[in-house]
């Protein structure tokens, strides 16, 4: 029997199907709104996971990159009248430059210096956004223009006709966010399966081994740090256009911790795991609105409990449990007979 089961479930089509069918089960515009936000944050976390899960480096300031993208889009489109895409690209370039400048000296060092540096950077950026009110609106926040692509405006309050059907702007936005999430996953998986991804995982697995086969480890750590920062920036830009109003909270330290918690809870180095992490932690505040004051405590608790009881994260732990439950008649003799 030369029959071989595919090593991995074809996750991308499954995710696409789930995203396609989801609107049918969402009762109202409020649910659709939550789903759209979750998709944008999940895409951010997929990028962060490239750094944390595959590169083995922790960023405690990713919300700052997210916030920079959001504010770049808000300010450039609002104050300076740019269209959305150039503003988004400009924000992403700024973030890439900042991440590169910060990461280059620090990622040459071994250890957890990146966490320290990103922690400091995140706090500084949050302070700047809070204090430079003339530019950012300060703590009061900033209204954001709707997304405009080639003259067409996409607003959640309008209705559009698409292939003869009347579609709400909210549903179109959901579709866009879903596409962005799929794109984020596709790119992340391509990267992980490439020689670059292999080099990165090797840095995590054994840095010495990676170096003696010629992997310039600090180069790859820097590369993945910049990529994950750009992921955050781009999603921040879309998030700003979608919500139409942003506050310094998007760039706050608390938001950075939320993003990291999603990665750790869902499962480091598991792309679909971290999406699950994002879904759960975005739904949590909706379900526990009465406990809003304790939100940070909850995140801390979840982070601690995950590290203690399932350090691999939710999805890897679950899939391992399923694998153990299921008898394995096919695989054992097949490998022996080859």
């Amino acid at each position: 029997m030369a029959l071989r089961l595919p090593e991995r479930v074809p996750g991308l089509p499954v995710l696409a199907l789930v995203l396609l069918l989801l609107p049918l089960f969402l009762g109202n515009e409020f649910h659709l709104d939550i789903a759209t936000q979750i998709a944008l944050i999940a895409a951010t976390v997929v990028g962060l996971n490239l750094l944390v899960g595959y590169g083995g480096q922790v960023s405690l300031g990713h919300a700052a990159f997210f916030g920079m993208g959001a504010y770049a889009s808000a300010i450039l489109t609002g104050t300076y009248g740019w269209t959305s895409i150039p503003a988004l690209v400009c924000g992403a370039l700024l973030v890439a430059l900042l991440a590169w400048t910060l990461g280059r000296p620090i990622l040459r060092l071994k250890g957890h210096y990146l966490s320290m540096a990103t922690l400091g950077m995140g706090i500084i950026i949050a302070i700047v956004i809070n204090n430079e009110g003339w530019l950012t609106g300060g703590p009061d926040g900033l209204a954001v223009e709707p997304l405009t692509v080639m003259g067409a405006e996409l607003s959640i309050f309008d209705h559009y006709s698409l292939l003869g059907l009347e579609v709400s702007g909210a549903l179109l936005w959901y579709g866009l966010a879903a596409l962005l999430l799929l794109l984020a996953v596709w790119i992340a998986q391509n990267l992980v399966d490439s020689p670059i991804g292999r080099a990165l995982r090797a840095v995590h697995g054994s840095e010495v081994a990676a170096r003696v086969v010629g992997v310039d480890t600090s180069h790859y750590k820097l590369l993945i740090f910049v990529i994950s920062a750009v992921y955050a920036s781009v999603m921040g830009s879309f998030y700003a256009h979608y919500t139409g109003f942003i506050t310094p909270q998007v760039a706050s330290f608390e938001h950075s911790i939320e993003l990291i918690t999603m990665v750790v809870l869902g499962g480091m180095a598991s792309t679909y795991g971290v999406i699950l992490g994002a879904v759960l932690l975005m739904l949590l505040p909706q379900l526990l609105t009465d406990f809003q004051d304790y939100e940070m405590m909850m995140f801390g608790l979840i982070l601690m409990l995950t590290m203690i009881f399932m350090p691999k994260g939710l999805l890897p732990t679950l899939s391992e449990a399923v694998r153990r439950l299921r008898p394995r008649p096919a695989s054992a003799p097949a490998s022996g007979q080859e």
């Binding site: 090593e7 790119i187 391509n190 990267l191 399966d193 490439s194 020689p195 670059i196 991804g197 292999r198 080099a199 995982r201 090797a202 995590h204 697995g205 054994s206 010495v208 081994a209 990676a210 170096r211 003696v212 086969v213 010629g214 992997v215 310039d216 480890t217 590369l223 180095a269 490998s335």
Partner: protein, 269 residues
């Protein structure tokens, strides 16, 4: 024979007078007053199997770490193919054709056996960033080739049963061979093996001996640190004996076996 390295370099393909592949001159490294390697000089010729032996703590692994760029030497020169390489980081040395294994395994346990060996092909692959992001066909083709080469190497070292196994699930003996396969994947000119037989039983050691012979027959210069004297004496062309970081003796296995200094050092005479 005593021409300088520069002069012999021009006649490199002249096999009658081989220039040393690796030359170490006056190498020294101290750790807080302890001279782990002290004023050590030797040359390794292309195609040789060269063994480094010595009592525990003689500085063998330190020597390997100095040669492969994991440690910086305090003094002395190292030349690879006539080029000064002391102080270069390991990733640069890999480009120049140096590869190694480790006494305490350095395997990426978060990857499969195959991926570990494919990692060894790193320098020989196109690493275009955009191609990787968008998964261009050229990248897919080069990954397929890489996979086939890695599979072949895994079979070559005798780990054919473990191609798709997670490294973390493999037995110790297989991991030691896997590390050799990964080192070979870099297509090295010189391969340094740090105690390849440590922890292996006699059957596995015999298989390892065959493997090292095959590697050497393929034209790769092999340098090994090893405690298994039977293995060392049977496969080495020349042996270097270290004691307290210094050269105690150097010569063919027969010369070493009969050397009174070596006998004294080993038997504590």
């Amino acid at each position: 024979m005593n021409q300088s390295v520069q002069q012999t370099e021009t006649s490199c393909d002249d096999t009658a007078r081989p220039a040393p592949l690796l030359e170490v001159r006056g190498l020294g490294k101290a750790f807080g007053g302890v001279h782990a390697v002290d004023d050590l000089s030797f040359r390794i010729l292309p195609g040789e199997v060269y063994a480094v032996i010595g009592p525990n703590g003689a500085g063998k692994t330190t020597l390997f770490n100095l040669i492969t760029g994991l440690y910086q030497p305090d003094q002395g020169d190292i030349a690879l193919k006539g080029e000064a390489v002391q102080g270069l980081p390991p990733e640069r040395l890999a480009r120049l054709g140096m590869s190694r294994t480790f006494q305490n395994l350095q395997i990426c346990m978060n990857m499969t056996a195959l991926e570990n060996v494919m990692l060894g092909r790193h320098l020989h692959l196109k690493r275009n960033f955009l191609a990787a992001l968008l998964r261009w066909p050229s990248l897919r083709a080069s990954e397929r080739t890489c996979r086939a080469q890695a599979e072949e190497l895994i079979r070559f070292v005798g780990c054919g049963d473990y191609v798709d196994a997670d490294a973390a699930a493999m037995p110790y003996g297989a991991l030691k061979r896997l590390e050799i396969a990964r080192a070979l994947a870099t297509q090295p000119a010189i391969l340094l093996l740090d105690e390849p037989a440590a922890g292996l039983n006699s059957t596995e050691t015999a298989a390892l001996e065959q493997l090292i012979r095959k590697v050497a027959a393929g034209g790769i210069t092999v340098v090994l640190v090893e405690h298994d004297m039977k293995l060392v004496m049977s496969i080495s062309d020349r042996v270097l004996v270290l004691d307290y970081g210094r050269k105690l003796a150097e010569g063919t296995p027969r010369e070493i076996r009969d050397n009174p200094d070596v006998i004294a050092a080993y038997l504590g005479g």
